[in-house]
Symmetry: C3
Subunit: 346 residues, 3 copies
């Protein structure tokens, strides 16, 4: 794929400032972009770097003065970047429709004709899969689970029985959905598993990374709300209910029966104790440990997690400690002198 700068500007509806004749074949970062690469600048901090960049053109939100390079001025740089990346995305062979002859699809399964099922996949009885979904090689979908349309399960994803997955859901390789949760009762000297009769509900437009685990519920469902995005190696325990449009970064662990509102953002490696509620739009910094419920819009950090203000307060106090110790020492000396003076007076 090769386009002139002018053609690109036209395709994404950008105002072109400068020469439109250069040829663009890729999108790249300011520092590494070559002549046939278009780059982008999201904020003014990167303007200096841009002037040194060899990029053939740049997408900007506001015209930059004194720049020889052609500029594509757009309203929303993020949206324009997605458009341009899609234009230059690597062209892969389309996955052929139909069921690979080595896949094992139970007779009672209902598979839409436009669905693709890969090599060695196992589709159990009463499974339903909607139009245009792609099931990768080595996947297993357990009895009675449902997938909507336009879903993509990459290779070796395992979905256990009785899970309900909506439309436009992406699950990347080696992820496990619907495993039995970690619930035991100690009875007669042994840990006995609490049966997990419930399932998992994954709503529309959810995207889940690679090597994640979403456990099924003891009763009712573990739920991941529409539009929520989950990074790699994330653990979602039994009976967790996650709202809509949340962002859950890599290696987060959410313990049993937590409830997250809409638009919650969890940084990488965050841990949330069981039975916690986190309100809409709350943001938890990376590596925090959430041990009590969090109100809507709150921003927490630390383990145990507190408000950023509390974290700062603690840091400030710690910094004052050496001075306090010194001051104590000086006060002590002054008292000694006073005591000596008093004794001399006797």
């Amino acid at each position: 794929m090769e386009l002139t700068v002018g053609q690109l500007a036209q395709q994404i509806g950008a105002e072109l400032v400068g020469d439109g004749s250069g040829r663009i074949r890729a999108v790249g970062a300011v520092e590494s972009a070559g002549e046939s690469t278009i780059t982008f600048v999201k904020d003014s901090r990167h303007v200096a770097g841009l002037k040194k960049s060899r990029a053939g053109a740049v997408i900007v939100g506001r015209r930059i003065e004194d720049l020889i390079k052609p500029q594509l001025i757009v309203e929303d740089v993020n949206a324009a970047l997605i458009e341009v990346l899609n234009i230059f995305a690597p062209r892969l062979r389309p996955v052929p429709e139909g069921i690979d002859p080595t896949a094992k699809v139970a007779r009672g399964a209902k598979i839409a004709k436009s669905t693709a099922i890969g090599l060695g996949a196992v589709i159990d009885d009463k499974v339903e899969i909607g139009e245009n979904s792609v099931i990768g090689s080595g996947c297993k979908i357990g009895e009675n689970s449902k997938l909507g349309k336009n879903c993509r399960l990459d290779s070796n994803v395992v979905v256990y029985h009785n899970c309900a997955i909506g439309d436009n859901v992406v699950i990347q390789a080696n992820t496990t959905i619907g495993s039995v949760g970690f619930g035991y009762s100690f009875i007669d000297g042994a840990h006995r598993l609490i049966p997990h009769n419930g399932g998992v509900v994954i709503e529309d437009f959810v995207e889940i990374g690679a090597n994640c685990c979403v456990d099924r519920a003891k009763f009712g469902n573990t739920v991941i709300g529409a539009g929520t995005k989950i990074d790699n190696l994330v653990q979602i325990a039994h009976n967790v209910v996650i709202g809509k449009c949340c962002l859950i970064a890599g290696q987060v662990g959410i313990a049993g029966s937590c409830k997250l509102g809409d638009g919650v953002v969890l940084g990488g490696q965050v841990g949330v104790s069981d039975n916690i509620e986190i309100g809409d739009g709350a943001m938890i910094a990376a590596q925090s440990g959430v041990t009590h419920s969090v109100g809507a819009g709150e921003q927490l950090a630390g383990s145990p997690a507190t408000t950023k203000r509390d974290v700062l307060k603690t840091v400030t106090l710690m910094r004052r400690l050496p001075k306090m110790a010194e001051r104590l020492q000086r006060l002590s000396e002054r008292i000694e002198r006073l005591e000596a003076a008093k004794d001399n007076k006797r």
Copy 2:
């Protein structure tokens, strides 16, 4: 499956208080249970919620006064709950015995007749699998590894060579057993892998979640003791020895050559440094980092982990800091006045 409240009481040996004619089809939580659902109350804190619940019946450990709802009184609510959940567990098709024709079983492998081996599984030479075990699709079991009877390996589990797995062991999807551990010596300018000649021993009734890793030993064996339960995404490094009936929560990492006693409980995301010993019954709070050995029965928290008392002490001290700073200021002022008085006297 549908039973009357009276039939249920009889099946689990409960004393029925109230009307036994209602029909029950599921088990559920107090808050979400509908009329055809039986719920349960483990402690008195939840009694208030119960009075508002629409549940058709409730399992309790002690009779609750002033409750119109039928009550099933049992000695151990946890045990009764497991029984009732099993009664209403979803009925799945039994896995057919035998070896799927697409599986590749080495001639020298000994597979019990009642064992089921799924699509595309690979069973290497000298592997032995006992009665009634179920090997999921896409599993790989390496040379000379042994599985006992009544085991269940879910889809895409990989067991490397020379691993010994006991009876009644469950390993959930996408878990890896017997990978080479992370042991390198820096020789002639490069990290050279230390060969891992040892194996993994997993004793009876161990249950391991999804997407876990248990590394093989450099020599001897990595051992997981009987009855120990391991959650998802857990990392057990080479030469770790875990005792019996431990509970290891999600995303825990145990570094090389650690020894855990019996009944140890590790909360989610705990990390244990290499060569640490943790005594019987010790409990480590979530996200702790264990950097020194832990005595039997100790309860630690924090990173680095200390006793809960120490953690509390630190928190208390931090809370006192602002008051200490204030007090210092007041003392300083009093000393100034004393000094001024002394000077005036001269």
Copy 3:
């Protein structure tokens, strides 16, 4: 495999002190070694244990006096240990060359003749695989990805499209390479995925553990430098560039666009925030959270990570707090007495 102590000494070029006639069949730890086992001692701390050990011989760097046991004296115990472990490594059947008939190899793929491709593997179009590489059962290699020679991908590894893997690379079971990273822009009320046009480059002699994730780049490549070793369950986000000969321990998470120099060591469960640079040879202690860039050779610990000296300072200050509080109390009492004396004088 059985060798006499004398034969072993000869094979590894060691100086033998003592009787060379004993028969050795394995390598083991000082504490657990039996008579037919050779053990090793890396430093003098373990000499005491050695005297009680039943091991049939010992590899040492320096002759130990008063030891009846035969000693194999070598220059580098670590290197000798690797040699001896290789001698007694379990003999596994060689993987047969060639493509398993159940594997699906695209016509346009170029597979060296000596390569082995396992049951149910999927090799997409334009893939290239070099001599003597072994692709395990259930693996998937996406379009246009290249593997060098002498590589080993264990069962169920997934490599997405456009990834470039060098020579002598090992990737253990259930690991995912080239998944789409966690990059979203919030546009018109929804998180929209930023297309990931880039790939992953894994250089020669890299070893990656089980159940890891390495995300592909948005543009350019996520890079893992030659000789770097990665433990299990590690997350490498999009556009991360890792230098040569780094050691990344289990459950580490490295967020987007970080740059690590050569020889960096990250302890278990370390988290690194996005866009951080870590200089050559820096060492980060387990469970640390790196939130700002780190100079070459620095050693950090804690979350947020600071120098070990700062961590120690904080610990020391915290320990002084109770004494400071006590001292404040005593100063206050002394001031009270001074004030009383002054008042009495009036």
